[in-house]
Symmetry: C2
Subunit: 346 residues, 2 copies
DNA sequence: TCGTGCTGTGAGAGCGCTCTCTTGGATTCC
DNA sequence: GGAATCCAAGAGAGCGCTCTCACAGCACGA
């Protein structure tokens, strides 16, 4: 096979090996290996000679051989459950993944992307446990995908998003500080003058849904404001519209709205306008996510920006530390940023 | 090191090897290897015994060892130039990448994601040529990133998007049929009754910019309509607005507009409205890309949908064939789909 | 009966690297 | 000055697998 290859494509120079570098530098394989791995106990002149040979031959270590001998792969798996992959076009995920890839680009680790589906989950499990990777990052939309949590005992794993179940709390995860972000948005509405602040919460079986509601409550409590004005949606625009309808139907005054995500805020926008109310004149509105809707909406939506790329980078950082057996916090919460726009003008 | 590991984490069962499977099945290593690799010349009962042992031990082949011995890595690199990565949140790219990953998930290939920057390009080149991957897919926004084209002589590479330069035409690529899509959009405008159809073209140093303009021209030519109403933008909403202003300033009638992407259509929308003109009443508008803007705009934008996930899947397919030395077309154009919305109502 | 051909299985080398152990020359100390 | 110490560099085993080659065992025809 390899012979055949070199026959029909004579242009290929042979890929240089450690052995060849050693010969070129006039030292042993072991010494070259030391230089490549930056061992301190090598004479300076020898280091120079070896580096010179490496440059001349254009040598790159063969990862497979290195991995086989050292029993580390320098590979990190990025596991994306298929349900999440479908939502891949969600800029948030794309950005998280980008953050991971960028952070890893400056290390010696390589990123292996796996799309796992239910039918493939056994294959994925085996791959992860088969000594093919040094660690894994699981990004997922649903906390249910924490089915990989158990693998955490056999392999360093970092999750994106906090787990819902306490039983999975042993795992390492990086998440956005949803509660704090929601509180900031709510307090912002209050500081602009709103006194009757409603919220459209996310599903109460998803951590972001729970945490953002809790943040809203917390901010209201600090101000001593009423926290009974809430309805639940499922993060879709339609559910946001429905929830807004229910809120208005209560017949109580509302002059501020915190929607647990921008999509639901979009739904609320249309219902508010339907009712002949103005934003921010009658109701100030704040969202969460800072996706495209916020900036294109009229009026532009005040929202909470999630540091998605940084979140990805952090996940990579935590995992690398875990792999290198340094100590890391199990829980990392990234802080959010308020993006003020026209929807909450005073 | 490995001793230390097994000491402080006694729970880890040893990762099973071929050798262990062979012992368990009472055959030689070579036979197990044959079974694993589906060699035809093994007795049925032996195959069963080996498979049984594999299942019992939960054996997974070690990729590093396999790769070292076979001189194939079963790894495909996904190279994303950093300039493109920055635009990662572009749903189009995210979706292409998802398509690649999904297609590869059902093969034995593994996807290795590399973000290459100018400063890292040498590292990337070496990595690719260092025998660490069997092939590469380069997705990029700029055709300038075809700097990897030369690597195509040493490694199977598939590009996303057609190259600008003829000198790179030797490479394999998969692209959307931009010209055909533009022609369909333009003809659609004409069929709705527009007779003075302008276009806001993309940059004329990028293939999509060129091809979509050509498609517009082609459709007009078939109808015998005027093709002088065109201005160039750079795919941003601002440039779209500017171009629209210039078009209107010409003082000639315009009752149809094909924008080379949805973002520029967005810019045109605002200018059209500024001028007190209505869509589609005065000017019918069609875009290209089918991104979020199209569906949320008022009126909803008629546009050309690009089969992004399929495009990714096709790239994976072409590359795998290339690696396996099957014959493949150098050029694959994916067809687009017209999405009719309110902006081109008759 | 023996030679010939075929086929399923085993033996063993070797892929490119790491890492332990060994070696030998320089340095230090009494 | 000789023994003890140290440390840079080399020798060599072995990581888990593939793949070539050799070798039994069998069938068949002469």
């Amino acid at each position: 096979m390899s012979t055949e290859r070199s026959v029909d494509e004579p242009g290929h120079p042979p890929v240089p090996t450690l052995e060849m570098v050693a010969a070129a530098a006039g030292v042993s394989r072991a010494t070259v290996s030391r230089v490549v791995n930056a061992s301190p106990r090598v004479t300076e002149s020898v280091v120079a000679a070896v580096n010179d040979a490496i440059a001349r031959l254009n040598y790159v270590p063969n990862r497979a051989a290195r991995s086989l001998a050292s029993r580390r792969t320098q590979v990190i798996a990025l596991v994306v459950p298929e349900t999440t992959a479908k939502l891949f076009s969600d800029p948030f995920f794309a950005s998280v993944i980008q953050g991971i890839a960028m952070a890893l680009a400056d290390t010696d680790f390589t990123l292996n992307m796996l799309i796992s589906s239910e039918t493939r989950s056994e294959k994925t499990r085996r791959y992860l446990l088969g000594g093919n990777v040094d660690g894994a990052i699981v990004v997922s939309h649903h906390s249910g995908d924490h089915s990989y949590a158990q693998l955490g005992q056999s392999l360093p794993i970092v999750f994106g998003g906090r787990p819902l179940l306490a039983s999975e709390s042993g795992s390492y995860f990086v998440d956005v500080d949803n509660a704090a972000g929601a509180a900031v948005a709510t307090e912002h509405l209050a500081s602009r003058g709103s006194r009757h602040i409603a919220t459209i919460a996310g599903p109460q079986d998803m951590p972001p849904g729970l945490d953002r509601l809790a943040g809203w409550r917390h901010a209201l409590a600090l101000r001593g404001l009423d926290d009974s004005l809430w309805e639940v949606g499922d993060f879709t625009p339609e559910s946001g519209a429905e929830a807004m309808r229910r809120l208005l139907a209560r017949g109580r005054p509302i002059d501020g709205l915190f929607a647990a995500n921008d999509q639901m805020a979009a739904g609320a926008y249309s219902v508010i306008h339907e009712h002949g109310l103005s934003i921010p004149g009658d109701i100030r509105v704040a969202g969460f996510d800072n996706n495209y809707f916020g900036s294109t909406a009229v009026p532009a939506l005040t929202t909470i920006d999630q540091p998605s790329a940084e979140l990805g980078a952090k996940m990579a950082e935590v995992l690398v530390k875990l792999i290198e057996r340094q100590s890391v916090e199990r829980v990392t919460l990234m802080s959010t940023r308020l993006v003020e726009r026209a929807s909450t003008a005073p």
